[in-house]
């Protein structure tokens, strides 16, 4: 039993390392080769976990080789369009200038129901409003509405708006996040002054966000957001 526990810990460390090196992606966002490698890693790890007569090194070496292959192939994909096409395939235009390309749908084995469902997923309920729809390599459908059906933007309406700034969390659960302060280029003293102006202290704050235009948002501990 203790062997299994130790082996699990070791393999957990290696798999976490492997996934970390490969980069953060959700299953749905993975390229075909990334999905294959993720599936292979899980299968390879299962063997030495279940069969303790199998040397753990055989699993670890296989994981390392998969990471090497994944990194090398992703680097080659960046350099060469041909390799990228071979590894990941192409995106396919399903609706071109408002016209549904039935041949393209046949090629990617997509039914009308699939298309309508994917469009609904993009908040498009009327297919006639779509100018272009592209089936991406990861299986998502990107949609561009006809110009008359696109929602009005602030620019269209001629409204002047303040520049947007990214609010960063500076206090989380009473703890001051020094990295955020550094990114915002402010000191702890400045932060304390801001907290004082809002009649609170860092230890009383559940979440505090701040942007570079000094917009503050504070959620105190125990209060409902």
């Amino acid at each position: 039993m203790i062997t299994t526990i130790i082996r699990t810990i070791i393999l957990y460390i290696f798999v976490t390392f492997a996934i970390r090196v490969m980069g953060k992606r959700q299953i749905g966002d993975m390229q075909p080769n990334e999905l294959v490698i993720t599936l292979l890693i899980s299968e390879i790890v299962a063997i030495p976990l279940q069969d303790i007569s199998q040397p753990i090194l055989s699993g670890v070496v296989a994981i390392f080789m998969l990471i090497v292959l994944e990194i090398v192939m992703s680097c080659l994909s960046l350099k060469s369009v041909k390799i990228r096409k071979f590894m990941s395939g192409n995106s396919v235009v399903i609706i071109n200038n408002g016209i549904v390309d039935q041949n393209a749908m046949k090629n990617v084995r997509m039914t009308v129901l699939d298309l309508v469902e994917q469009l609904r997923g993009q908040n498009v309920f009327d297919i006639s409003t779509v100018a272009f729809a592209v089936l991406e390599i990861n299986g998502n459908l990107s949609v561009l509405l006809k110009s008359g059906d696109q929602p009005a933007t602030v620019k269209d309406m001629g409204i002047k708006k303040e520049k947007a700034a990214l609010p960063l969390p500076v206090i989380s659960d009473g703890k001051v996040l020094m990295d955020s302060l550094k990114a915002l280029n402010i000191t702890t003293e400045t932060l304390n002054k801001k907290l004082h102006a809002n009649h609170t202290t860092a230890s009383e704050v559940f979440l505090m966000t701040l942007d570079r235009y000094d917009n503050i948002s504070i959620v105190k501990k125990g209060s409902n957001i």
Binding site: S53, L57, S74, C75
Partner: protein, 124 residues
């Protein structure tokens, strides 16, 4: 670039592991094989080979922990059992079972050596 460096380090680790395992397995198995050969020779000449068989077992016991990192544990256990049995029959003069177990050990060791070779059989 950082990821390429990681890949290069990992590849170097894999190659180093492969070479270490290859040399260690080959060396250990060849030595064990020659020790068994010697045990068989002494047994056929003197009718017992208790000392030689014991030395072989001692050698295998010494090599076993590190070999377990590279070789399937069941195979190592099988060799361990066969060497123990060979040891028992090495004390008894003119016993056919001694030769049987000695050959068994040789075959099992040979199988491990075969697995280290890159052949069509091992790949596919």
């Amino acid at each position: 670039m950082k990821r390429l460096i990681i890949a290069a380090i990992l590849l170097a680790l894999v190659i180093a592991t492969y070479l270490t395992s290859l040399f260690y397995i080959t060396d250990s198995c060849n030595t064990a094989k020659s020790m068994i050969q010697n045990t068989i020779k002494v047994y056929s000449e003197k009718e017992t080979a208790e000392k030689e068989a014991k030395n072989t077992q001692k050698y295998w016991d010494k090599k076993e922990p590190l070999l377990s990192i590279f070789v399937n544990h069941d195979r190592i256990d099988d060799i361990e059992t066969a060497i123990s049995l060979m040891n028992v029959y090495a004390k008894i003069p003119k016993n056919e079972l001694f030769y049987e177990y000695a050959d068994n050990v040789k075959v099992l060791i040979h199988q491990i050596l075969e697995d280290t070779k890159i052949t069509m059989h091992s790949i596919f």
